[in-house]
Amino acid sequence: MTADFGERPERGPLNRQELARLVASDISPGSYVNLGIGRPTAVAEYLDVEDGITIHTENGMLGMGRIADEHERDEDLINAGKVPVTEHPGASYFHHADSFAMIRGGHLDLCVLGAYQVSRCGDLANWHKGEPDAIPAVGGAMDLAVGAREVFVMMSLFTASGESKIVPRCTCPLTGRRCVTRVYTDFAVFHIGPGGVAVRETYGITLGALESRLDVDLTPVPLMKPAAG
């Protein structure tokens, strides 16, 4: 283990707010970012306006602001989760084909998505649990997975029954192949690359204990934070 590896067994695992704050601190100033429905939405609360980060929502807007207050609610101004939001100065609106051209065309620096599973090579499963009676619904997840320059995943590391969601191979239907570059979880932050899965930090668990609960090989990486972090 390297000296600056971020192992923090003495504290508890990250709660949702701490996780959102950690992801926000890793987003480079000036980025164009899409935040998925669910956990990733909370990241917006921790982004500093001064950093010039622009939020894209796939239903046709750049420069999305915070969730609307009661008196600001407008049915024509909603986010991808259909929640009323506000607009930042400099915002723009565009139609759906342009919005997804922006995504697939590689113009978004980053998207942050939730997931059911991530494989050791960065395959993402987040749209369908594979249950035979489920009604399939994909939304924009597959477009974001193939289009954004980087894909961060935010999720709890373990299922309710204690199984790791980082897996050798996804058993849930795939959203995209080899697209995830980082996974932020309550117990650890992982970087995924050609060399496999590397652990950057742990929370409430030692690296050894983490390795024993995951069915993939792990390597520690030196703690790397962007300058603004």
Binding site: T57, E58, N59, G60, M61, R73, D74, E75, D76, L77, I78, K82, P84, E87, Y93, F94, H95, H96, A97, S99, F100, A101, I103, R104, H128, D133, I135, P136, A137, V138, G139, G140, A141, M142, D143, V146, G147, P173, L174, T175, G176, R177
Partner: protein, 228 residues
């Protein structure tokens, strides 16, 4: 310039035939043409194929059309929502077919229809369940899936304002699929909050040019509906 026809909701949808493919604008409630959908319920055309991002929520709009038994097939990206009980019930009863399409591919297939594109290779969905049975090809080292256009017999959309030659402007995220649907259908019907004289919209601000619009239906102030 050619003037568009100005109509009531009922007259605008009177000629929708059984078995038509109807492109319905909107992303959730934003941009959904509720007044035109209500008129289509009254008109009663059946065995419709609906192309829209969602498959209705609550009991109004698209959900009401589904509940009336007028829809045989839905092509959409995201049918499952907390309040999509009408679609859920019909789907589980085997009374409506579903084709799920990734949202960007749905938009691009509509765009392709309006732009005269025969088909296109798209990386979205490659290697997933949604690419099954589709032709694929490696381009620049990356898997792509062949996707075909979606043409509509009629498009029902909503805009904020129109002029008498059919130029349209939208409001905020209510724009969503409307511009690509307007171009993808043989006949496009637009419900609008207000209808102005020709020249009342700055040509630089026109989002959908009137060439794509056949019929405008003024429905009065339709913005700022309070949502739950």
């Amino acid at each position: 310039m050619r003037s568009v026809s100005v109509s009531t909701p009922d007259d605008a949808v009177a000629e929708v035939e059984n078995g038509s493919t109807v492109l319905v604008g909107g992303f959730g409630p934003a941009g959904q043409p509720f007044e035109l959908l209500d008129a289509l319920c009254r008109q009663g055309a059946r065995e419709l194929t609906i192309v829209s991002n969602n498959a209705g929520s609550g009991d109004s709009g698209l959900a009401a059309l589904l509940a009336a038994g007028q829809v045989g097939r839905v092509i959409c990206s995201f049918p499952r929502q907390a309040d999509s009980w009408v679609f859920d019930r019909l789907y589980r009863a085997g009374r409506v077919e579903l084709e799920v399409v990734p949202q960007g591919t749905l938009a691009e297939r509509l765009r392709a229809a309006g732009a005269g594109i025969g088909a296109f290779y798209c990386p979205t969905g490659a290697g997933t369940l949604l690419a099954r049975g589709k032709e694929s090809r490696v381009i620049d080292g990356r898997d792509h899936v062949l996707e075909f256009p979606i043409h509509g017999d009629v498009a029902l959309i909503k805009a904020a304002r129109a002029d008498t030659v059919g130029n349209l402007v939208y409001r905020k995220t209510a724009r969503n699929f409307a511009p690509v649907m307007a171009a993808a259908a043989r006949r496009t019907v637009v419900q609008v909050g207000s209808l102005g004289e020709v020249g009342s919209i700055d040509p630089e601000a026109v989002v959908t040019p009137g060439i794509y619009v056949d019929c405008v239906v003024p429905v009065g102030d339709q913005a700022q509906r309070v949502i739950a």
